[in-house]
């Protein structure tokens, strides 16, 4: 449902932009107060044991800090599964804590991320979050459809063919072109629920949109297009939707009041720890 309403809101927004064609923007100076510092945790673990898994710890800053966020170093970070196995993460660059190579999250397992800071932030040193890896179907297939009416030079719609397992599921999609992640920030990720095709075959539903007027997304013969389908928890899907709400353009017409995005970490830290399985499908553009 969230997906459809997000989609609807986007449609209305697109329509209204047409209306507000006369509107203009200009940069302004605003003076903002500073709130207290919080721990920020950014990290997911996936079933893909060929990629590296990193948990990044940083500090929140004043809003106009305008630089890389200050890393949180020298923390003890470990991952504990529901069988009691403990994996230590190693800090390879400041604030970046890596899981050992070859690690992959297992479906149905519950993982706990346990962080012990060397120095307290917001009066606390211990932060914890847990996540259970949801299940996913067997295979996905990819398709491409050209939509010439959209935009200046048309769009390619990346299509997904997949048997959705019965029951409520939430999916996140990433798009790669020649191994470069196009959906490289949270606001670019496509997150949907299966409300409209629960337990059915998703006969070519659009999961990514490649704007042929945008240099990085233009397809040429020989390009390899890949999508990654991730079966995420409801909590993580909501988290991404809320982040997308807060960082997208807000207008008095359509936006609700700004609100903080609450993650799943204890102790008031910001961010989300989650684990999910992934499937890939690729094709060569001809």
């Amino acid at each position: 449902m969230r997906a459809i309403t997000t989609y609807i809101t986007k449609l209305i927004f697109i329509l209204s932009v047409g209306l507000l064609i006369a509107s203009c923007t200009e940069r302004i100076d605003v003076e903002l107060d500073d709130t207290y510092t919080r721990l920020v945790v950014d990290g997911q673990i996936t079933s893909d044991d060929t990629s590296s898994h990193i948990i990044m710890l940083t500090e929140s800053t004043s809003y106009f800090y305008n630089q890389l966020p200050p890393p949180v170093s020298n923390a003890d970070v470990q991952l504990i599964d529901n069988e009691g196995n403990i994996i230590l993460l190693s800090e390879e660059t400041p604030g970046m804590y890596h899981l050992p190579e070859g690690f992959g999250a297992e479906i149905g397992k519950t993982y706990t991320l346990d962080i012990e800071l060397a120095k307290e932030i917001d009066g606390k040193t211990k932060y914890i979050a847990t996540s259970t890896t949801p299940s996913i179907g067997d295979t996905v297939y990819i398709g491409l459809q050209y939509q010439p009416d959209w935009g200046k030079n048309g769009y390619y719609i990346v299509q997904c063919y997949y048997w959705d397992p019965p029951g409520a599921n939430w999916y996140m999609f990433n798009i790669y072109k020649n191994d470069t992640l196009l959906t490289d920030t949270l606001n670019k990720k496509q997150v949907v629920d299966d409300r409209f095709y629960d337990g059915e075959f998703t006969n070519g539903i659009g999961v990514g949109y490649l704007n042929q007027s945008k240099k990085s997304e233009v397809l040429r013969p020989g390009d390899v297009i890949t999508f990654q389908a991730c079966s995420v928890t409801e909590g993580y899907a909501n988290f991404i939707w809320e982040v997308q709400d807060e960082v997208s353009f807000n207008t008095p017409l359509f936006s609700g009041p700004p609100a903080n995005v609450i993650g799943n970490l204890s102790g008031g830290a910001i961010g989300y720890f989650t684990s999910y399985p992934v499937l890939y499908a690729s094709m060569v553009f001809e």
Binding site: M1, R2, I28, Y63, W150, I157, F196, P252
Partner: protein, 796 residues
Amino acid sequence: MNVLISLLLLAAFVMPASLRAEEGEADKNKNTISGYVKNAETGEDLIGATVYIDEIKSGTVTNTYGYYSIRLEQGNYTLRFSYIGYQSVVHKLDLKEDIRLDIELQPRGEQLQEVEITADAPDQNVKEAEMSVIKLDSKTIKQIPSLMGEVDIIKALLLLPGVQTTAEGSSGFVVRGGGPDQNLVLLDEATVYNAGHLLGFFSVFNNDAIKDVKLYKGDIPARYGGRLSSVLDVRMRDGNSKRFSGTGGIGLISSRLTLEGPILKDRTSFIVSGRRTYADIVFMPFASDKNMRNNKLYFYDLNAKVNHIINENNRIYLSGYFGRDVFKNQFAEMKLGNQTATARWNHLFSRQLFSNFSFIYSKYKYGLGSASDDEANSFEWDSDLEDFGIKGDLTYYLNKKNTMMFGFSSLYHTFNPGVARGKGGKSLFDEWIVPKSHAIESAIYISNEQKIGALLTVKYGLRLSTFSNIGPGTVYNFDENFEAIDSTVYDKGNIYKTYWGIEPRIGLNYLLTETSSVKASWARTKQYIQVAQNSTAGTPLDLWFPASPNVKPQVSDQFALGYFRNFKNNLIETSLEGYYKAMTNSIDFKDHAELLLNKKLEGELRFGKGWSYGVEALVRLNGLPLVNGRISGWVSYTWSRTWRKFPDINNGNKYPAPYDRPHDVSIVTNWDISPRWTVAANWVYSTGQPVTFPTGRAVIGGVILPIYSDRNAYRMEDYHRLDLSVSLHGKEKPGKKWHHSWTLALYNAYNRHNTWSINFVQEQATPGNPNSAYETYAEKTYLFGIIPAITFNFKF
């Protein structure tokens, strides 16, 4: 509850008797003067015209159908009929038997401007018991400089004290700190659920088809109910019953045409009025982006009305409104529209007992969908709200001291929150239906306006309202964390929840002198249906939802006190009003609420309270002589605050409502320099809107996530704007039927970039500078720079 209904009914019959008893035997020697007051040029009834009787230094006013009635001892009387903008008529009579006296007043037309007008302007604002009321006629509205030359009733109301806009350009309005859905908007008695066109930039009311506009900001009469904050009562014109005529205009973005005339002279008349915007046809073909050239963006609307005088005691009216908006671009399309229809029957049971019975239909619907229907994602979504209703309003002109009103109303609501489904053969979407729900909203009321001595007038009334949810319906049950635990399904016809409440309305007016008075009022109002909307300006996607087992009706108590004083034979009216309004069971929404297509919408609601208070000062000029012409307009200043407190929002701390704007100034002037030239100007100022700003940031997944301040802890910069217009009227000759004028308007004349929204934007990453992706800046969006417009208006 039945006991209460009986009591009210009893009161309706007993009160007149007891009030009459007060005058005792004297009634035998009394007779009634009654009739209609009409516009001499068009034959249309005049609403709120004053009938003043010199001998008793008192009088009455015509009701919404132009009818008046007054019962007096036999004798000789001098009656003065007056109406603003019209020449007064003085009529002397010897009252020996009941007299029917229909009066026609001549408008002060352009050709009459050289005539010295000495008649007094009406002094209703001082003498009448009602307070917190704004009256505007279509002529005043027409003279206010407007955006793109589109004359707009709601934009005119926004210039009056106590009425604020929700956002620049919006048709949403806020009255004394109440939400935009707390205004009952009536067009010929039918509810208009969404009064905006084109996302609210224009209102649904076509000024050419409108006769009279009255906004009750408080002190709401007992005959109205169902909304907490205000009633906007808009009356359509009846059509010229004397001769066929037309009015029209050609503007930059729209044209309009009104035709009216008698079907049977002086008995049956009609009016048809239409409007169509054509910005898409005029501008889109020239768009630089080829895809934009096929965009559709327009609205049209149609008002139509027929009325027929059957005989002296019976008259019927049929009126309707139909409006539709269409937007379409390459991705999506949206259609929305209002429809209303009213059939009314005016019946005089006697010269003292006037009645009107109305049958009402009203519908607001919208649909949204993808533009194409050959994709997996193609879908469409429809939602609507439909009302059928019946109303009866009776006025009993008991004697010169008492005027009673009583009546009933009943509305059957059908809420269809939405059906979304796939579109076209390839769509994957199953149907997603948020079930309809049904309810009956009814009320009975009785009120009396009583003159006590020469100086005091008291108005008191009771309204008993009820609201019942009727099956079929599905109600979710929620735990204390607002999570749905289970649901209950009710069968067709099953009344599964009923609320009721008593709404007292009391007001008094004490005349201090002939030209000044103090007034006080208390009104309790209840609201049973509301909009799920958490944006400040409001989208057209209004989702009305009813009170239910999970949602209690909202209640408001408003107290107001005012001082009214007129100068220069009422050519200058001044008033100072203070109010305090307390609201309970107020509704707001949880953070990141899901309002559309949500079967468990009620789980997204949070309940709390609100309160607002303020002082409103107004100086209004009614055609004060200036040089060779006359100046009209007003200056208003409002100081007000409006607060909300919800246990589950903003950590339970109070916060300013999104439309809390402490200082608000409007200056509206219209100066007829000469018979041919008119200049008009208005200037508005208000404190900036409260907003929530980030006070920190967290970097997650490559985005800069704001960490916010308390809700509405900051403000946008102050808003101010000047609009100007100048009109040139064609040369007038006696007997000439064709009149035309040109109006040149400048909206936002000094080109102020008033903030519409503020966004915090992440800088584009530049290669080689790792920090560049982490830079953010604040950016304001403003909608309008200076906007000139030219309009050609004609009348024949």
